[in-house]
Subunit: 359 residues, 2 copies
């Protein structure tokens, strides 16, 4: 459907793994008017000259051409949410428009987050182990022990696309959401999400939080941690400012201000392992200062088999997979397609990387 | 706070188990103006005459007084959602108002439901077993295997307070909701939830479903199962009409109409075990016609250790505990308190059992 393009696009997709048949089929369906090349390249290795010169659209995670080879490129679309991993590459100083996959991580990571909350509050692991034993557990094992999320307060440290979808589901569960951003967001305009949003998800106009907080200084963070939160979700980018943003002092504050009738606060980290002081986290889990933690990221990664974090009380660890799933490529390529169409119509791109702003 | 009652109420709470200290404290806080008696009685045994005669408000699950002893009773509040289990008791034919705990089961059961969906779609059990082995799983184990709920279609068979909270969370996850009720709901008024709703939850005005369906005949049910559902949630009451409502034919229909790109349909039963033909369910899970099932109810209960359902593929079984948790008593007693206040002001009760309608 739609108008046939005047010029046939040459779409080059470079990735470090083979794509599944379902993804390849999706690519051919989405870009049925384009000539398509899919190539597997080592992580970070350059795109071969001949392929690069032919391509008009490049979709990639870590593979870029030289500036000289980028003669026909009209768009570079990255499969990642940001361009941090190749921000110093010469091709980024060229004029070629670059778009990111920002926004597609919201739904899967929000689902991963809420799943872990519920596994903890409903004591699913006990249910699971009982099933393995084919044992019908008595009511007493649940009645006064499990709890639900209604009325719980969640603080979201970093209110981007991921935080916004967590907020959306939290609100549906009957929770109240408190948002934290680095820069102030005093106006309705400043609270909008201007990047790509998976349809039917997120918080486009920033209307879900019952309170907004901001700052890059310790006092601002500490005030946020003192709101009486049941949940703290960490989804800030890793920078020199956010390295070890949360440590012993912060976990103690969070715990001290927790609602009396609730379990101790539950921590979710879907940012980067080094945003937390991991030893302090283990200590807070061991002391009961925190009731549990869901960690999709650790320091280091992979987490070595002998690391004590694996066995910290009430911790759930996954191997940096919370954003993954069958939908990842189709969604990212959907943005590339949107932008191909927008380029054709001379419209502003979705998720365009602004060289002057650095994001 | 509030006006002191002119007459001191005598609140009698009769239950088959001891209440936790937290619940007892909550009772004394909520009914600080009343004289309170808490008694443990065997399931179904009568309330002792002396206590019954003194009580003005009775909160109970299965324990009722004789009609003769109910001289001072102004309200019987049941801890259960319905009164089916004592509907033939003589005291129900008296004039004493009766209220139920309908509505309080929504949030915990919706959380239990969504938790099980996500455990299945995110393959949490694999993550959990890897953590026990202190093993950092490779991305390949997740990338093309797990999926999310965005765009998935859920059919809710029985759109009461539980179905409505499941709908609310489903919509937040980006899903579309299809509602099924026994009687037609053609008008906005008929789609309202008129019973108690836990604040911040549910679907009070019935605006969440994208389509409504109804009927008690096989054709209507079959048409509903043919909508192309990813999820079917069973939350109908068990009656002679709903006994074995879903069997081999229905699972086959559901499977045959499933979206091509999705996993096969996932079944959730939080109604009663006998609403399903359990042998047919096991067969559909074994054949892959259904991708999985979350069952909080079975036939019989407790499910015997040797029963094949325990080991059916991709089934999650819990022991009829999905409605439970620390919030159960406080919420139910909150309705009793609301009604005590409404009685005092001569207002209509919340969740009043209508003898003429039978619910």
């Amino acid at each position: 459907m739609g108008d046939a393009p005047l010029v046939k696009e040459h779409l080059l997709i470079a990735f470090q793994r083979d794509l599944s048949p379902a993804v390849v089929e999706d690519i051919h369906t989405k870009f049925s008017d384009a000539e398509i090349t899919i190539i597997r390249l080592e992580r970070g290795s350059p795109v071969p000259s001949e392929l690069a010169r032919k391509a008009t659209i490049l979709v990639t995670f870590t593979n870029l051409p030289t500036v000289e080879d980028a003669v026909n490129l009209k768009l570079i679309h990255t499969l990642s949410a940001g361009v941090d991993h190749f921000v110093t590459h010469p091709v980024l100083s060229s004029h070629i428009p670059i778009s990111t996959s920002s926004g597609i991580h919201g739904p899967p990571i929000a689902e991963w987050t809420v799943m872990n909350w519920l596994i903890a509050s409903k004591e699913f692991v006990r249910t699971y182990e009982n099933q393995k034993l084919q044992h019908w557990a008595p009511l007493d094992a649940y009645m006064d022990k499990i709890h639900d999320q209604v009325g719980k307060k969640v603080g979201i440290l970093g209110y981007g696309s991921i935080g916004r979808q967590i907020a959306r589901v939290s609100a549906a569960l009957g929770m109240t959401v408190h948002a934290y951003t680095a820069s102030p967001r005093p106006t309705p305009e400043s609270r909008r999400d201007t990047r790509y949003i998976v349809p039917g998800t997120g918080d486009a106009d920033g209307s879900i939080p019952v309170s907004w907080h901001h700052g890059t200084d310790k006092e601002s963070i500490h005030a946020f941690l003192s709101l009486g939160l049941d949940h703290l979700v960490v989804c800030v980018p890793l920078t020199t400012q956010t390295h070890h943003l949360l440590g012993a002092e912060e976990f103690a504050l969070l715990s001290a201000h927790a609602p009396v009738v609730s379990p101790k606060p539950y921590l979710t980290n879907i940012a980067r392992g080094r945003v937390l002081d991991q030893d302090a986290l283990i200590a807070s889990l061991q002391s009961g200062e925190l009731s549990g933690a869901a960690l999709d990221v650790t320091n280091p990664e992979p987490l070595p088999a002998e690391h004590p974090l694996w066995k910290a009380p009430n911790v759930r660890i996954s191997s940096h997979v919370s954003s993954l799933g069958k939908e990842y490529f189709p969604r990212s390529l959907g943005i590339a397609k949107l932008n191909m169409e927008r380029l054709g119509r001379g419209e502003p791109l979705v998720n365009e990387y602004k060289r002057t702003k650095g994001y």
